[in-house]
Amino acid sequence: MSFLSSFLYFYGADNFKELSLFLILMPTVLGILSFLVSSNAQRRSIIFIGSIFHFLITGILVLTLANRDLYAVSNFPVLILNSFSGNIENAVFLSVVSLLFSGASFYSLKYLKLEEKNIRKDDEGFLINDEPEAVFTGFMMFFLSAMTLVCFSAHMGLLWAAVEATTLFSAPLIYFHRSRRSLEATWKYLVVCSVGIAIALLGTFFLSLSGGKSGGSLYFYDIISQAKNFNPLWLKLSFIFFFVGYGTKMGLAPLHTWLPDAHSEAPSVVSALLSGALLNCAFLGIWKSYSFMRIGGLGEFSSSIMIFFGIFTVFISALFILNQKEYKRALAYSSVENMGLMCLLLGISFYVGREAEKLVFLSAIGHSLIKSGMFFIAGMVLFYYKSKKYAEVGPMFSKTPFTAGMWFLGFILLSGAPPSPLFFPKLFIFKFMLLGGKYFISALMIFLFIIIFAGLGKIFYETIFSGANNLQEIKEDKTILFPSLSFFSISIFIFFAFFYFSRGIK
């Protein structure tokens, strides 16, 4: 076993570049292939094989991180990263994307089969016929390749193009069910995100301008090395535009309006990927510009914005979760809240020191895993009970006990109770707030967390315990929930690993 891992390790480190290129292009090729292939069953197997393959290669590449000093070659100006040494966040987000995608592909194997037979009415009574599966599988693979490109891009312009590509490829996925409401959600998603991303493009131009009158180069390597002598005014402007641009894509408070619609109308596989993987990629943009600001000496400026918007996002999402009627929208708002928390944590990590960024990784991984697991279950709940409103969902405790158990376990993990990795970020935020003497804000945060717990609790509580139980017996399919079960157990394992290894952060 050790020989194999060392072989893989050297192999990965040697031709990092070829492997990463292969990783980006392979899904696109498979996507085109799925358009050509005739039968649906083959298409589903394509997705599955592609995602497993993608996951294996990512594993090899991430493994190269294990031994940093061996390959400390700095990434000289090239479009695609040739080693993760400089930026660990890319590696973390890439591994999350590929893990989520493999889970989603396993889930969609069964889900698409179920959807095929399941002819049901739209809310207005129109018959829903779904998009041809070719479109779905194709765009899923394009979506995967776009997200991999985001994680690998070493050039801000390329990063922008990749994030724009993810938006465009995910739009048709939201429109899978072809109902009026999903059409409206797609349209809003497209316009709001494209406008946001356009503003981010403006930010990229400002960033290059701050490099010098004639426009500095936008390679990470160049920016990081010369960040100190950038023009501070332009750098600030570029951060603001980046923050608003990628913030729209990431779903921060006033710009989050598209997120609940897109997540509640998209099929649960897509909303799991949107919530788990896509928001992280958008967050990567802000993370990069934040690190430029920190190197450029303007860290204080950027972290104050991020802290303010973090708290504002938690505030808005708390208020919207409270009166929420549909469980999928509630899950979407809890993603908004978690993104606010991550933004707040990154802002705090400026004051406390770099290793606080470990907590941002923890909250990113934890949230993506748990949230995508929850969306898988939400998909099944929607399939069993045919309604998105929690009042109309029957008592799951007696009708579908296994799903109810998973549903409640997910709620416990989401609420930040100890077995969930989201516990440490909360603990750390309180520690920073209270030690920093900001008593009012910490009291407000406690109050908001309680409201979120009560709001979410109400929804999960009503779906599990109350509801019109006149429905006929439901044959429960346990194996389809295997991905969410594995995601939950991975996140609980991460909690104990983090608790054991981290010797606490001052």
């Binding site: 406008v195 208020l319 309180f430």
Partner: protein, 639 residues
């Protein structure tokens, strides 16, 4: 202490074993037998540990040591836990017999073992992260237990309030524990003692249930099945007190303001708790409020201990601490007993509303006798163990009245005496409403005493209550001598134990008097025979059972005087003609705190939240406007 750890692990393994086993026939008997066995083993280990006091030395293996510790405090609470757990587990074998057929009880037993495991583990965990993990485990498993029969509407409402209270409490605890400066997340000294203290007070208060934070208690206990409400009220409330004691033991220099807050909170919840319980119409809700009252008494003793410590009278403050611990011990015994007998009544009479019950003493003599012991212990009457705790509180406050700053003991004495009198009135009402008079409705004719499984633990607890009542010195010495042996030589300890012995001999005098008079009466009545007659009814000759003075009318003068909102939502017809055909009177006390404070606040928050929903107005154009406005705001604000 290997035994206790072993018992913990076994409980965990049993819980998961239960989940996977299919539901076999006598699931209850086997499960309850095993849990009884385990808790009995734990009890002996704990008792041996307390007496020999040799068991507090740390573990050999380092891994266990930096996550768990066995000091006096956790030992004491473990002892109480094992007592109530062994009683409840034996009791639930009988209690669940009725529901055996209907639905599979695997999930119930899974949660039962999980609850037991998490409580034990929380008591011995030194690490704050692990503590919150077990705390949440306890909260959620007890939530599921409360929800066993979730098809009833009010059980669902109670369950939701219970879950929110637990969630809020856990979040506040997370905030409080973040201030501990130890890098291994262990409990340790913190640089902001009063911030930590007040947050932990609120966090654990939500679990202990004193007045402002008690709204879930009268909802959750009646909703839970009999054996679970016994375990919850007997032990889970004490976990809140354990938390407060644990934090106090960590924050070394106590402050006067802490003592005063706890004292005032304690006396408030003692007096208000018992006043609310007077107005109740249902037995379990009444017992829940009386738990709030007893928690108040425990806090009064704790407040006294802190205040005495701050003023420098260390020995007396240790005695006050003993008073609160002793009352915790006594309360968990008689409260378990009361809830179990309530469960027995509920099982056979299937209703716990006072108006519908009556005359049970003829049909259920044993339960009546055991309930009498529990009721008189709960109202703090001398022969039973409720009195011993209060006696210590009185002793401490009277001996501290002479000090210059002794005014706080006035607070304590007044609230305890007022609570004592009110408790006497309320338990008299309960006992007479349930057990005296004739049977109210005919379908109660098949009521009979519960099975042996249920009577045995109740008998055991009644015996313990009598023992601790008659000879208070015995449990006092057993429980507290191992606090630190040096203390047992101090003057205060000697005087207290002397006075406890004196109470015992005054009880002997009492019993001697009673026997003398009883014998005298027997001798006299031998000559002239005793006849049976009807009660005096001014000659109408119609002694129908419904003419009995009902519970609501018994407590009407007191609740009338103490009712805050005046119109105690009463309803009775206006009698116009001279010979009114029929009249009725129905009045119920509202859950004052919940309806006047929490529910309107929740409505306001919800209205504010819904007012903000215009942001998600559905118009794409406004969404783009928001982007533009945020951009403009940032530009103006930051550049």
């Amino acid at each position: 202490m290997i035994i206790i750890l072993l018992v913990c692990v076994l409980f965990l393994s049993f819980s998961f074993l239960n989940l996977f086993l299919s539901s076999y026939s006598n699931i209850n008997k086997i499960n309850s037998f095993f849990s009884f066995l385990l808790s009995a083993a734990g009890l002996f280990a704990c008792a041996a540990g307390l007496i020999s006091q040799g068991s507090f030395l740390p573990f050999k293996s380092q891994f266990i040591n930096n996550y768990f510790y066995f000091d006096y405090l956790s030992h004491f609470f473990l002892l109480i836990f094992y007592i109530s757990l062994s009683a409840v587990s034996l009791y639930s074998a009988g209690y669940l017999k009725k529901t055996e057929g209907k639905k599979s009880l695997n999930f119930f037993w899974f949660n039962f073992y999980l609850l037991a495991f998490s409580m034990q583990a929380a008591l011995i965990s030194k690490n704050s992260v692990l503590f919150i993990l077990f705390w949440e485990l306890m909260a959620f498993s007890s939530f599921f237990l409360v929800m066993t029969d979730f098809h009833k509407k009010e059980v669902r409402k109670a369950g939701f309030i219970y879950m929110c209270a637990n969630g809020a409490g856990a979040l506040i605890l997370i905030a409080a524990f973040s201030l501990y400066s130890d890098s291994y997340y262990n409990f340790s000294v913190s640089s902001y003692p009063s911030a930590v203290f007040f947050m932990t007070l609120i966090g654990f208060g939500l679990k202990a249930g004193f007045i402002p934070l008690h709204i879930w208690l009268p909802e959750a206990h009646p909703a839970a099945p009999g054996n679970i409400s016994a375990l919850m009220s007997g032990m889970m409330i004490k976990m809140g007190i354990y938390g407060i004691l644990r934090t106090l033991s960590l924050l070394s220099p106590w402050k006067e303001s802490w003592g005063w807050t706890i004292l005032i909170l304690g006396s408030l919840s003692a007096v208000l708790g018992i006043i609310f319980s007077l107005g109740q119409k249902e037995l379990k809700k009444f017992l829940a409020y009386s738990s709030v009252e007893n928690i108040g008494i425990i806090l009064i003793a704790l407040g006294l201990a802190i205040l005495l410590n701050c003023n420098g009278y260390y020995e007396l403050s240790v005695i006050a601490l003993f008073a609160s611990l002793f009352h915790i011990f006594n309360h968990s015994i008689f409260k378990n007993l009361l809830f179990m007998s309530a469960g027995a009544i509920a099982q056979s009479a299937s209703t716990l509303i006072f108006e519908e019950l009556g005359g049970l003493s003829k049909k259920m003599p044993y339960t009546a006798f055991l309930f009498f012991i529990g009721a008189s212990a709960a109202s703090g009457l001398p022969l039973f163990n409720g009195f011993a705790g209060e006696f210590l509180i009185y002793y401490v406050s009277f001996s501290s009245i002479g000090f210059k700053s002794g005014t706080f003991s006035v607070f304590a004495v007044l609230s305890v005496s007022l609570t004592g009198a009110l408790a006497l009135a309320s338990f008299a009402k309960i006992f007479s409403a349930l057990f005296h008079g004739g049977l109210k409705n005919e379908n109660h004719s098949d009521i009979k005493d519960p099975s042996l499984y249920m009577l045995l633990p109740m008998g055991f607890l009644a015996f313990m209550s009598l023992l601790a009542g008659l000879i208070p010195y015995l449990p006092f010495k057993l429980l507290f001598s191992s606090f630190n042996f040096a203390f047992t030589q101090s003057s205060q300890w000697i005087s207290v134990s002397k006075y406890l012995l004196m109470t015992t001999c005054s009880y002997c005098a009492l019993i001697m008097f009673f026997l003398a008079f009883y014998y005298m009466r027997k001798r006299i009545s031998k000559e002239n025979e005793t006849k049976e007659g009807i009660t005096w009814d001014c000659g109408y000759g119609t002694s129908l059972p419904s003419a009995k003075y009902s519970a609501a009318s018994f407590s009407q003068p007191i609740t009338e005087f103490f009712s805050f909102d005046g119109q105690r939502s009463r309803s009775y017809p206006k009698i116009l003609e001279y010979f009114p055909k029929s009249a009725f009177y129905s009045g119920n006390t509202r859950a004052v705190f919940y309806e006047l404070f929490y529910a309107p606040a929740a409505k306001k928050i919800k209205k504010a939240a819904s007012r903000l929903s215009f942001i998600q107005s559905g118009q794409l154009r406004f969404y783009i406007l928001y982007i533009f406005l945020t951009l403009a705001a940032l530009l103006i604000w930051k550049i």
